[in-house]
């Protein structure tokens, strides 16, 4: 980090703020540390997620393969966006998956019409989901609380039904229904040229993977993952700026007491609508990236379960905190992809050193919680987190940090938000 890069953006902030506190890239020192942590985690993920040698029994728990790493950061983006709405304004949207789906479809349509370069697709997915969010937000934000949640849920289910069957009839096939929208060789692809026949960024194929083998470890570096990771870091940075801005303060005001805000003569709706649209665009971007990594968009991305998932991610990680949603997204995706793959024979292999009777007994006890029982384990952990750590994983992290810190009174990076959330409950 040179002085130059530190200086320029800081100079762009108004003099009053600059004088008020020290800033780097417009962030306070604490926030900047957090950003560095996120950058380090994102860039070193192929190492961090592959701690076990690939031929050991523990390799089952490795998560450092391209597809899952991509999902981690993409759903991280989705959750960051959701947190801008839910964490700041307190408006609980139960229909955010609709924007994810719209983004996915837009991106695949760009592949079909223009070609496999991911850039137009990703840009269009942000624009289209933004417009879609404007439409839904304009109607839904006329109500608040549970009515708002139900309205968004209704819109999302409507979009799902449209995508699943109505818009996939042979006469006007926009979504290709249950099969999912995909690229066929007969599609026009006007700008395709000689580029790779798979999603690419100016010739760099998204599925390009370099494998680094060190001893028994295999580390996979995937082009698509790094594109997503860079975008996620940018998204994270933008969300930090938004959290710390006067606009973010206004959104917090909406959350703490909207009525008081109304009485003071402030119309809150433009602010909430803006937050809704921004958050919808984040979701659209995530959807676009999903398609860019894997060019198939299915309708079930819009289903209410997908909307519920992002709510879980945000709450699990810590709503209203900056890094919480990203952690929550990683946590849930890890369970979905790693725990669901542990089957009975894997368990038998683990416990094979025990006497037969004991082995069978242990397998019988553990089996309901892994494989198809991964939902159960996730549910139990979710309950534990909600009961004992209402501030989410971030609160847990802070508690741990306090134990190890020399000066016990020093506040952690995200203490404010975590405690604030606790109070809000």
């Amino acid at each position: 980090m040179t002085d130059r890069t530190d200086y320029t953006p800081a100079a762009a902030t108004p003099p009053s703020r600059r004088a008020a506190r020290d800033t780097i890239l417009g962030l306070t020192k604490q926030d900047f540390s957090l950003l560095l942590v996120v950058i380090a985690l994102a860039m070193l993920a192929p190492f961090l997620l592959n701690p076990f040698p690939s031929n050991s029994a523990m390799a089952q728990f490795n998560a450092g393969y391209p597809d899952l790493m991509q999902r981690f950061v993409i759903f991280g983006i989705f959750a960051i966006g959701f947190n801008i709405l839910f964490g700041l304004t307190g408006y609980l949207s139960f229909g955010h998956a609709a924007f994810l789906g719209v983004g996915s479809y837009s991106c695949v349509w760009m592949f079909k019409l223009l070609g496999y370069n991911v850039l137009p697709g990703i840009l269009l997915s942000i624009v289209v989901s933004g417009l879609f969010a404007l439409l839904i937000g304009y109607v839904s934000l006329r109500r608040s609380g549970i009515y708002f949640s139900i309205l968004t849920l209704a819109f999302a289910q409507m979009s799902f039904a449209l995508a699943y069957s109505v818009l996939s009839n042979p006469a006007f096939n926009l979504t290709n229904g249950e099969t999912g929208l995909q690229v066929y060789t007969s599609d026009p692809q006007w700008l395709q040229g000689d580029g790779p026949r798979a999603p690419h960024l100016f010739g760099l194929a998204m599925r390009e993977t370099e494998t680094l083998s060190i001893g028994a470890w295999n580390f996979q570096f995937n082009a698509g993952y790094y594109l997503c990771a860079v975008i996620m870091v940018v998204c994270f940075y933008l969300s930090v700026r938004l959290f710390r801005s006067p606009f973010g303060m206004m959104l917090r005001a909406v959350k703490s007491n909207q009525q008081r805000l109304n009485y003071t003569g402030v119309n809150a709706r433009p602010y909430t609508l803006a937050a809704f649209v921004i958050s919808g665009m984040y979701a659209g971007l995530a959807g676009g990236l999903l398609s860019a990594m894997d060019p198939l968009a299915g309708a079930e991305r819009m289903q209410w379960t997908a909307s519920g998932e992002v709510v879980l991610m945000t709450i699990l990680g810590g709503a209203g905190t900056l890094i919480g949603p990203v952690l929550g997204a990683g946590f849930i995706k890890y369970f979905e992809n790693i725990f669901s793959k542990i089957n009975e024979s894997t368990l038998h292999a683990w416990f094979s050193f025990l006497p037969d009777g004991l082995e069978d007994a242990l397998v019988a006890i553990v089996y309901p919680f892994v494989g198809k029982g991964w939902h159960l384990t996730l549910g139990l952990l979710f309950m534990l987190v909600v009961i004992f750590l209402p501030g989410g994983l971030v609160q847990g992290g802070n508690k741990m940090a306090t134990i190890f810190r020399r000066d016990r009174k020093g506040g952690g990076v995200e203490d404010d938000a975590a405690t604030q959330r606790q109070a809000g409950e």
Partner: protein, 457 residues
């Protein structure tokens, strides 16, 4: 001027705090991973990994569980354990019970959740993380098509499980994908002569169709086949997939002038719509001076169990049935061998989903052995236009032009007085292969291209 509090110590502290717990024991041995080149996940060492991707949660979890049982049994037999099952009856004798080409078979499993996204994620992890060289499974056409496309791009072989839509080997066919199961067109073609002999040529049919890809291809196929008999299609009503109560769709049927109700539904949809139809008394009703009839084109034992008594007397089609060899003779050799080893291991007869998954695993292993290579292109070549027998369906052809198996189709109807919960259907007819064969460029299958086989890396 910005005052930087970003001291070296601060950076190191932050870095250490995050990195400490995650530090990696990296040992440099200098020996690079020796990887056989040429195709994705070329198996090194003395094992080969197959990926079994089935719905373990969601609406088709029962089918998925049965498929998984069959996969485990197939792996056991390939590795020379158990009684060998259909290996003894399979016409190709390339497999000797010593794994595949001397490599012991291992497998990994995943949960498709009957969602394309989750299915592709699970398949990706099998390919990228576990090094699977073949993916099999799936219990719905949307998932099968999605995973088939993924395997084509990644350069591994996809042996689909239960998928019945015409599209899997029609407009969405792929060079790396193979289907043993039959399809909607075959169902319709097999049922037409049976429907003619049961209900005559002068009938008016009312269709209720699940409103998604499979439902449409099923409805299109059965309408075309019955109209060729002289039947008239009165109306086709699309029902939402999520519907659980079909009363409002059933009520207008009796007054529509129709005398046959065709339920193009599967799984829970079919169980509910059939139950509703029976509750409305359609089975006892009269229309146009004839007895009212109900037809369910795609049958499964698991659905029959769900529908209970309502299923009695209702005709439908199946890919295979566990009573086939006993009732129709040794043309269907292999059936009893499979039912016996499955029954011994699990205590009940296998479903058709289990059968197709077992057969697919054996067919893949056999193709690799005959080709002498795990390279997907060699496997594709070995499977294309491969003729075999002894896997329970009689003489079968894996057609090279669309990677679809052609074999006899079983037409069944619900038993009036089932003796036990596994013996719910009786075999009415076995329609021979010739009657269900179609041209690769048939309009219902047109629009796709097989493309080139892709060996990946």
């Amino acid at each position: 001027m910005t005052r930087l509090h970003f001291t070296r110590r601060g950076v190191m502290k932050t870095g250490a705090a995050t990195g400490a717990g995650l530090a990696l024991p990296i040992i440099f041995t200098g020996a690079a991973w020796a990887q056989e080149q040429g195709f994705t996940n070329a198996p090194t060492g003395d094992t080969v990994t197959l990926g079994f991707n089935v719905p373990q949660t969601g609406p088709y979890a029962d089918e998925g569980a049965d498929e998984l049982r069959a996969f485990e049994l197939a792996v056991e037999h390939l590795n020379g354990e158990g009684d060998g099952g259909m290996l003894q009856t399979f016409s190709s004798k390339a497999l000797d019970g010593a794994g595949i080409m001397g490599k012991r078979v291992e497998f990994v499993t995943g949960d498709t959740q009957t969602k394309s996204d989750a299915a592709r994620a699970a398949a990706q992890s099998m390919i990228q993380k576990d090094g699977a060289v073949m993916i099999s499974g799936g219990s719905s056409s949307g998932v099968a098509v999605a995973v088939q496309g993924l395997c084509q791009d990644a350069g591994v072989i996809f042996m689909s499980g239960l998928t019945h839509s015409n599209d899997t080997t029609g407009k969405d066919k792929k060079a790396n994908g193979f289907r043993h199961f039959f399809n909607a067109y075959m169902s319709a073609a097999a049922m037409a002569p049976v429907l003619e002999s049961l209900y005559g040529t002068d009938r008016r049919a009312y269709h209720l169709t699940a409103d998604y890809t499979w439902g449409w291809t099923q409805q299109e196929s059965i309408a075309a086949a019955t109209e060729a008999l002289g039947w008239e299609t009165v109306e086709n009503v699309l029902t939402p997939l999520a519907a659980t109560d079909f009363s409002s769709y059933i009520a207008p049927v009796l007054n529509s002038g129709a005398d046959v109700l065709v339920l193009n539904h599967y799984g829970g949809n079919m169980v509910n719509s059939l139950t509703n139809a029976v509750q409305f008394g359609l089975k006892q009703a009269q229309a146009n001076g004839k007895d009212f009839q109900i037809v369910v084109p795609l049958y499964s034992e698991l659905m029959a169990r769900g529908a209970g008594e309502s299923i009695a007397g209702i005709p439908g089609s199946q890919n295979w049935d566990w009573k086939l060899e006993n009732e129709r003779g040794s043309r269907y050799i292999g059936t009893n061998a499979f039912v016996q080893s499955f029954g011994e291991k699990y205590g009940f007869p296998p479903s058709q989903a289990a059968h197709t998954c077992y057969a697919q695993t054996l067919l893949y292993a056999d193709a690799v052995t005959r080709a002498g290579s795990f390279n997907p292109c060699a496997v594709v070549e070995a499977l294309e236009d491969f003729e075999f027998d002894g896997l329970g369906n009689g003489p079968t052809l894996y057609r090279g032009s669309d990677h679809q198996c052609f074999k006899d189709v079983v037409v069944v109807r619900g038993k009036e007085n089932p003796e036990n919960e596994f013996d719910l259907v009786e075999i009415v007819e076995v329609t021979p292969t010739e009657a269900v064969t179609y041209e690769p460029d048939h309009p219902m299958f047109a629009g796709g291209e097989l493309g080139e086989c892709n060996p990946g890396a």
